[in-house]
């Protein structure tokens, strides 16, 4: 990132969310699993939202899911996105159950549909964070896409 660019808003590594971001840095998508009742949940919470147990661990999930809903964002609500509009953000229903909000990248916007199957990819946001984004399932891993700083990895890989 050149110094005159406006940085994008960052996620926040908190006591609850740190394991999620440590996961994305390794190319792993993780969700919380309650050891007491088995519930899976996102976003990170301090306790299990089903049974209030504190005995929760992070597990890696498949990275497969389907588009539950999506939007094509045209208005730059933050100056850092002014050069990226229009772009797609979706609520992804993971195969394991939880819903995750994330970008869908490397796709013709007209092809994004509710129900479309997607799979996770990992892209570096900045020096600190790697984001979990999604591409249509089965599409080829794009090579050297614009804006890709060469840090993309598949779920099974990791950097």
């Amino acid at each position: 990132m050149s110094q005159w660019e406006i940085p994008k808003p960052q996620p926040v590594m908190s006591e609850e969310t740190a394991p999620f971001w440590e996961g994305t840095a390794k190319g792993e998508l993780r969700v919380q699993r309650c050891a007491a009742c088995g519930s899976l949940q996102l976003p990170a919470s301090a306790v299990c939202s089903s049974c209030l147990s504190s005995d929760i661990a992070w597990i890696q999930v498949s990275g497969h899911g389907a588009v539950f809903s999506f939007t094509v964002v045209h208005h730059a609500f933050h100056p850092a996105f002014a050069s990226e509009v229009p772009y797609v953000v979706a609520d992804i229903e993971l195969d394991e159950g939880p819903v995750l909000t994330a970008s869908i990248v490397d796709v013709d916007h007209a092809e994004v549909k509710i129900g479309m199957e997607v799979e996770a990819r990992f892209r570096r946001l900045d020096e600190e964070y790697v984001l979990c984004v999604f591409i249509p399932r089965g599409s080829k891993l794009p090579e050297g896409a614009p804006g890709d700083s060469g840090t993309e990895s598949k779920q099974t890989g990791g950097k």
Binding site: P9, Q10, V12, F70, V72, H75, F77, H78, Y87, T101
Partner: protein
């Protein structure tokens, strides 16, 4: 009727000019609104012993009420600042009604004001969402419209709602604003204008979204007994309800059904009425899609029927359910939920002139926010009905 029904009344309403008011602080807007509401009721600020506030969004302050109350010279017996997004106004009114009924204050001012149009920019609106709880900002999901778009897209898909059905809400409410002298946007809007407005976040266009306003508004409450000695015709609170779906869009049901279904059920039960008894509705119309889902949640139409109901004129002044009769958040002003309550009170007083719904005696107001998480409902009755 049950519980709190009819015990507390709205005795005064007041607001500032709405629109572009450069150089006027949020505090000045709040103070002017209080002054106008007190005058409307024929009371003085010395009579007001309860203060209920929401902080200006552009400068979120945890102890907002202490700062406003000091500037108003108040030494209140009851003080509360709340934050529930678009449900805050009605939630504050409900808390104030409970405090009045409990004898903990006698006249309550419920206040909001912000210079959102020309003041401090609040483009992210995310400080309130909590550390680590809104990480989707990094994906560019920022601001209410982008988040609402996710719900609206799913709602469209499930029920086959058309662009024109969304648009009919915006066009109808603009027509109501054109009959409202204080409304911010009064120029006529056609369906072509709506369809030509730019995309914000698909499926939402510019005219699907609430406007931005510099302005302040205040609702003044007292016991119904005390209300008899004030200047305006009494408008009683006959139903109150709240319900919150705190999972928001993490719960797959909350895209097409909001907490309004539960909230309205509570309010109807307290009021002893049903949706058929409502003469006027003032919906929290932060987006056109929100109005459609609320129509269904409140039982005015069946699931998936709201789009056709709106397109066939159901929301217009001569329709089956005259709604947002002063233009709502889409055209009148965006002072979060205060505009809805103030307009409902004016309709029940019969003081709305060209936009008056004849014979209006029962009105319902909705408050909705927190990115599909919070909801509150108020049912009001005019002097004749109560």
């Amino acid at each position: 009727m049950a519980g709190m029904s009819g015990k507390v009344s709205v005795v005064g309403v007041g607001h500032t000019a709405y629109g572009r008011l450069p150089g006027v602080s949020a505090w000045a807007l709040q103070a002017e609104a209080v002054r106008n509401a007190v005058a409307d009721a024929g009371l003085s600020i010395a009579d007001v012993d309860g203060l209920f506030t929401e902080s200006q969004f552009s400068e979120p302050l945890l102890m907002h009420g202490t700062i406003l109350g000091r500037q108003l010279g108040m030494r209140p017996r009851f003080l509360s600042t709340q934050s529930q997004g678009g449900a805050t106004c009605i939630s504050l009114i409900q808390t104030a009604a409970l405090a009045i009924d409990a004898g903990m204050c006698s006249v309550a001012a419920v206040v909001y004001g912000d210079n959102a149009k020309t003041g401090q920019p609040n483009i992210y609106g995310l400080a309130q969402m909590g550390r680590g709880q809104a990480d989707f900002v990094a994906h560019g999901l920022l601001g209410g419209p982008a988040m609402e778009a996710l719900a609206a897209q799913r709602y469209r898909w499930e029920y086959g709602v058309t662009d024109e059905q969304f648009g009919s809400v915006a066009v109808t409410f603009r027509r109501h604003a054109s009959l409202t002298p204080h409304a911010q946007y009064r120029e006529p809007m056609s369906m072509d204008d709506y369809l030509a407005s730019r995309w914000i976040a698909e499926p939402l266009r510019l005219y699907d979204c609430a406007i931005t306003t510099d302005g302040g508004a205040c609702v003044l409450l007292a016991s119904t007994e005390r209300a008899r000695d004030t200047a305006q015709p009494g408008v009683q609170i006959i139903g109150m309800g709240q319900a919150h779906n705190l999972d928001g869009l993490r719960d797959k049901h909350h895209y097409t059904q909001f907490a309004g279904a539960r909230s309205s059920r509570e309010a109807y039960a307290m009021a002893g009425i049903g949706p058929r008894d409502v003469d006027v509705a003032e919906f929290y119309d932060c987006f056109t899609s929100t109005v459609l889902v609320t129509l269904e949640d409140y039982g005015f139409v069946g699931r998936g029927e709201a789009g056709a109901f709106a397109a066939e004129g159901g929301l217009s002044l001569s329709g089956a359910l005259p709604s947002n009769t002063s233009g709502g958040l889409l055209s009148e002003a965006n002072v979060t939920g205060w505009g809805q309550v103030i307009e409902a009170v004016r309709q029940l007083r019969g003081s709305c002139g060209a936009r008056q719904v004849r014979g209006a005696s029962t009105a319902v107001c909705s408050g909705h926010g927190g990115f599909q998480a919070t909801h509150a409902t108020l049912v009001l009755a005019g002097a004749d009905a109560a």
